[in-house]
Amino acid sequence: MAACGHPVAGAGQLAGQLQTAAIGLADQARGQARRVGGPAPAAVAPVHHAAPAGDGPFRRYAVTADGISPMSVPGETGLAYTADGLEHDPAGAPSSRAADHKAQLDKRRRKLLTHDYGPDWAQITGAADAKLCLLTFGACRGAVVEAAGRLSAAGLAVRTLALRLLAPLQQEALLAAIGRARVLVVEQNHGAQLYHYLHAEQALPAGAHSLAKPGPLPLRPGEIAAAAAALMDSDGDSQ
C-alpha cells in the first residue's frame, strides 16, 4: 500500500509539471485494502508559466526551450483556446503542415527528455560493489528485496533495483547503478517484457538473465533466491 501511495502522488505531481494526464492502476487486492500510512511526499507546485498578453490568438502550444508551453484555464480573460486531439499549430488550430507536426513532436519529446526526474526514477538497495543486481519493477519489488535479504544472509552481496520510471528510461543512471554486477531481471509476466525492453534500449550489460513468470501465483522470494543462486553458480568464479 505504501509503495502505491508514493507513485500515485508522484504521478499527479509529474502530470501537473509536464501538462499530461496521470492514470493510476492498482490491482484489486490493493484497491480494496486500507492502510494508514505516512504522508505522501509534499507536492511541488506545478510550474506556472505566466500567460503572455498580446493581440494575436493565445499561443497555447508555443514552442519553448523546455518544451512546456504556457497554459491557461477557463475563466482567464483573453486566453481561451481549443485543445485539439489533432496535430496543431502553436495557437491550437489543426494543421497538416509537416513543419507544425515536427515542431510539436520535438517539443513534447524535449519536455519529457529534459525534465529532471530526480532520485525517484528507481528504488535501490544494497552496496554498489555487489556481485549481483536483481532488477525489477512494480509489485515484484517486495519479493525481490526479501530474496536479496536471504542471499545476503547466505554470503552473497546483492543489490536490488526497482524501476519506477520506465520511460523515458534513465539509461545512464541505470547502467551506473548496475556497475559490474551480474543482472537478473525479475518480473511477473509471461513474455519477459521488461527484460526485452531493457535489451532493446541497450540498457543491460552483456549476460543479463531473465526470471519471468506469469500470474496468478505471485513470484516468491524463495524462487527468486534459487534462480539467483543458480545463475551465480553457473558463472563459477569467472565473473
Binding site: 477557463p74 475563466g75 486531439g85 491550437g92
Partner: protein, 298 residues
C-alpha cells in the same frame, strides 16, 4: 418555429433588458472551417455564436467540447474554451468539466455517429444524470467524416454506402424518444437551415437548468444530398412543449421527426457534484430522488 412559451417569455424579457456588448463574430475564431460548402454544420456554428452573443456569455466562461466527426470540429471555430476530444466521448468530457468547474457554461457538441452510436451509452446516462449541460447533436443521418456510412439514425433502406448495399435493415434510433425515456429534462429539435429558430432553441437550452438535449437536423451536402429537401419538409411542432413525460412521449411519437421546437421541458433537481454544490442543495438525497420519481416516472 415553435419555442416553448416559458422559454420564449424568458428570452423576450432578457432581450428587453440587455444591450449586447459582444457580437456573434466575436465568438468566432480565426480558424477557417474545413466543412464542404453547403454543409449544415455551418448553420449550427452561426446559430451558436449568435446564441452566445445574445446571452452575453463572456467567452472565457464558456467551454465547448466535442468528440470526433465533421460536426465535432466545431470548437476550433469558436473563440471560447474548447476541447476536441475522442470519438463518442464528448459527454464524459463535459460531465467531468462541469463537475470540476460548475460555474462554466459547458456545451457538448457532436454528430449522430458520435453521440448515438459509439457514444450511445454515455447519452443515456447523461440524460438521466441531469447535470446542467447543453448537448447539441448535429444529425445528418450519416458518418460524414469517414465518407458516408450508415449511422444509427439512417433509414433502414438507405443503400448508398458500400458497407450496407442493401441498407442496414435496422429500425432507426429515435433521439428525442430515447432522451425522454432516459430522463432528459429538456428536449428540442432544430434545423441548421433556420439559424434564427435554432438560436432561440439554443438560448433556451443553455438557460435550462439541467441536461438540455438539442437535436439538430444538419444536412450532409456531400453524402446525403437528398437532405436538401428538409428545407421544405421541416415544420413547427405546434403541440410542444410538453411539461409532462407522458404527454411528451405522445407528442414525440406522433411527430414525423421533422417537427421543430422545444418538445419537452421540465424543472427537476439538477445533479451537482462537489462540496460547494452539495452545501447549496437543500434537499436530502431521498427528497431529491422522490422529487424526480414524482415528476418524471409516471
Amino acid at each position: 418555429m415553435t419555442v416553448g412559451d416559458d422559454a420564449a417569455n424568458r428570452i423576450a424579457e432578457r432581450h428587453k433588458a440587455s444591450i449586447p456588448s459582444l457580437r456573434a463574430k466575436d465568438y468566432k475564431s480565426d480558424v477557417k472551417p474545413v466543412w464542404c460548402p453547403g454543409c449544415g454544420h455551418f448553420g449550427v456554428l452561426a446559430a451558436l455564436t449568435k446564441t452566445l452573443a445574445y446571452l452575453e456569455l463572456p467567452p472565457e466562461r464558456v467551454a465547448v467540447v466535442s468528440g470526433i466527426g465533421c460536426s465535432s470540429r466545431l470548437p476550433a471555430y469558436l473563440a471560447v474554451h474548447g476541447f476536441h476530444g475522442v470519438h463518442g466521448r464528448v459527454l464524459p468530457l463535459a460531465t467531468g468539466l462541469k463537475a470540476a468547474r460548475p460555474e462554466l457554461t459547458v456545451i457538448a457538441a457532436g454528430g449522430d455517429g458520435d453521440g448515438f452510436s459509439i457514444g450511445g451509452n454515455h447519452f443515456l446516462h447523461a440524460c438521466r444524470r441531469n447535470q446542467d449541460l447543453t448537448y447539441i447533436v448535429m444529425d445528418n443521418e450519416v458518418y460524414g467524416m469517414t465518407k458516408g456510412q450508415a449511422s444509427p439514425t439512417t433509414q433502414p433502406d438507405w443503400c448508398r454506402s458500400k458497407l450496407t448495399p442493401h441498407g442496414t435493415g435496422m429500425r432507426r434510433f429515435q433521439p428525442a424518444a430515447i432522451a425522454l425515456a432516459a430522463g432528459a429534462s429538456f428536449i428540442a429539435r432544430g434545423y441548421a437551415g433556420d439559424p434564427n429558430g435554432l438560436t432561440r432553441l439554443l438560448a433556451a437550452a443553455i438557460e435550462h437548468p439541467g441536461f438540455a438535449f438539442v437535436h439538430v437536423l444538419s444536412p450532409c451536402r456531400t453524402f446525403r444530398p437528398e437532405q436538401q429537401a428538409w428545407k421544405q419538409l421541416v415544420h413547427g411542432c405546434e403541440l410542444g412543449p410538453a411539461h409532462d413525460a407522458a404527454e411528451a412521449a405522445e407528442l414525440i411519437q406522433r411527430d414525423d421527426g421533422l417537427g421543430l421546437g422545444v418538445l419537452f421541458e421540465q424543472e427537476i433537481p439538477v445533479y451537482t457534484a462537489g462540496v460547494t454544490a452539495d452545501a447549496a442543495d437543500t434537499l436530502t438525497t431521498n427528497e431529491r430522488l422522490a422529487a424526480i420519481e414524482a415528476e418524471h416516472c409516471r
